[in-house]
Amino acid sequence: MSKIISNERLSRDFFRMRVECSNEARMGQFYMLRAWRQYPVLSRPISVFDSDGGTVSFLYKVVGRGTEIFSGLKAEDDITLLGPLGSAFPEVSGKIALVAGGAGIAPFYLATKQLKAKQLEAYPGCQVDLYLGFSDRPLLTDDYRKTADNVTVNVGGFITDEIDPAGYDHIFACGPEAMMRALYEKCKESGAAGKVYVSLENRMACGVGACLVCSCRTSGGNKKVCKDGPVFKGEAVFEL
């Protein structure tokens, strides 16, 4: 059991929860969260928004019973964390674009921090640009502006329209599958398919790779979103 430090409502459906946690997560990883004893049966996989070795933060959208329960938690309440789980975005250098839609912005706060920290050491002068797409109200853009070099926000349109893949060495995406597929196709047209990494989402049960309910088809055969993913090469997912 871990102690909740804060759980703030950011907008109608979005919340950010900060929890005491000594494990450090890598960008793109997730935890299985549980704030009830038996029901609902399944814990909920939630992306890491931030992690500093002493606390971990989650940005989550209320979409069902589990996240509804999370939204009612208060500081000092207990929550069970299992993680960090899954694969992370690769630690790359150069010009990097992070493209997110909706709740997909969650992993890119930590991603920006970790990429910049690494780059400051190894390659001063390199760049992390964020592209954030929202259907209605933008979220946390000020926070993101503090960490990224450039932040482009699109509301109600297609965030994929905003990016020129040719300008980047690496492109990471997280959001609705249609958005990630459109981005991948755009990159492919400009010969940049190999630059793309995507973070997949799926319903999960065990969260650790044992039960196969979150399997996805990839060019390398079935993969477990929870264990082999959630981060995959775009080519592996979209070239079947």
């Binding site: 049966v41 049960a205 196969l212 979150c214």
Partner: protein
């Protein structure tokens, strides 16, 4: 071995178990993932992912859905095939100090026989014959509904299988007691029950079934009372041992199954509540026995008339 260990020690069809708690097939892979979380040698055994003679990539679409007190799954026997299992997983499992139960499924009689023959050449503790998977279009549960069909599969597998043979029964069987008796008649060394209940969920927005395969398998605490009744009925009817399965999430649940007549129990959906839930169940059974001066679970097995 301590006294505490002794109170949990059991035997199933001649195979010794250090305790009666086994992870259920399909919920624990081949044990590697849980072993990263706790030492799975603390378990009585593990029944690994259901195998078919050839690899299968499983079902399309949504594979898991929550229900009241349970979950539905439609994995559809995604597995590396018997050969893949033997190459990649078997030695590792055999190197562990726990009972290695290998679950075998199939979509045709030839498939079952082929798989059983392949497994004849290797070491394993118990072969669990899965005639109860509801999530494949051909085979699977079709072999576990009618007593005569089940009898024929068990007879033919028994004829070729050199291992201890435990048949995993479906709660969708027309007459689970008669079917269990048929397994006993045909030489099964034990039965395990129950697999998942054939069930349905409809997406009222899309106006279609949630699952590509229309139906899926329901498991979890929701169905525990039905599973317990079936274990009780079957244990009273056969002389071979029964492994109880169905929504066990607490030591109390496990003790209920043992009192209903189970020699061991499997934990399936419960692993998703907490990957180390089986350890709590083991510790809880032990405390229960200790507090009441019960020297071994055999003393309470089947005590409920």
């Amino acid at each position: 071995m301590t006294a505490a260990d002794n109170c949990l020690k059991t035997e199933f069809a001649g195979v010794p178990f250090k305790n009666p708690v086994v992870l259920a097939s399909g919920t624990c892979g081949f044990g590697r993932e849980y072993n990263e979380i706790f030492d799975i040698q603390l378990l009585g055994g593990i029944s690994s992912k259901g195998l078919t003679s050839s690899p299968r990539s499983g079902n399309e679409g949504i594979r898991v859905w929550e229900t009241a007190g349970g979950i539905m799954n439609s994995v559809g026997l995604e597995n590396p095939g018997v050969r893949g299992f033997i190459e990649k997983e078997l030695d590792w499992l055999n190197g562990l100090d726990l009972v290695n139960i290998v679950n075998l499924s199939g979509h045709s009689m030839e498939d079952y026989i082929g798989g059983a023959e392949l497994l004849n050449g290797v070491r394993l503790d118990i072969l669990e014959l899965n005639i109860s998977c509801p999530n494949v279009k051909a085979g699977g549960m079709a072999f576990g509904v009618k007593t005569d069909v089940a009898r024929e599969v068990v007879r033919r597998i028994r004829a070729v299988c050199k291992h201890k043979l435990m048949v995993k029964l479906s709660p969708n069987a027309e007459d689970i007691v008669a079917l269990a008796r048929a397994c006993e008649d045909e030489g099964a060394d034990g039965v395990s029950l129950v697999n998942t209940f054939l069930a349905m969920a409809i997406d009222v927005e899309k106006r279609r079934s949630v699952f590509e395969n229309t139906y899926a398998g329901l498991s979890g605490p929701a169905i525990k009372p039905i599973a317990l009744r079936m274990v009780h009925q079957v244990a009273k009817a056969v002389h071979i041992p029964v492994m109880g399965i169905g929504g066990i999430t607490t030591w109390r649940d496990a003790v209920e199954f043992i009192m209903a007549g189970a020699s061991a129990v499997q934990i399936g959906t419960g692993n998703f509540i907490d990957p180390a839930l089986a350890l709590d169940v083991i510790a809880g059974i032990e405390s229960y026995l200790d507090a009441r001066g019960i020297k071994n679970i055999a003393e309470i097995r089947g005590c409920v008339e």
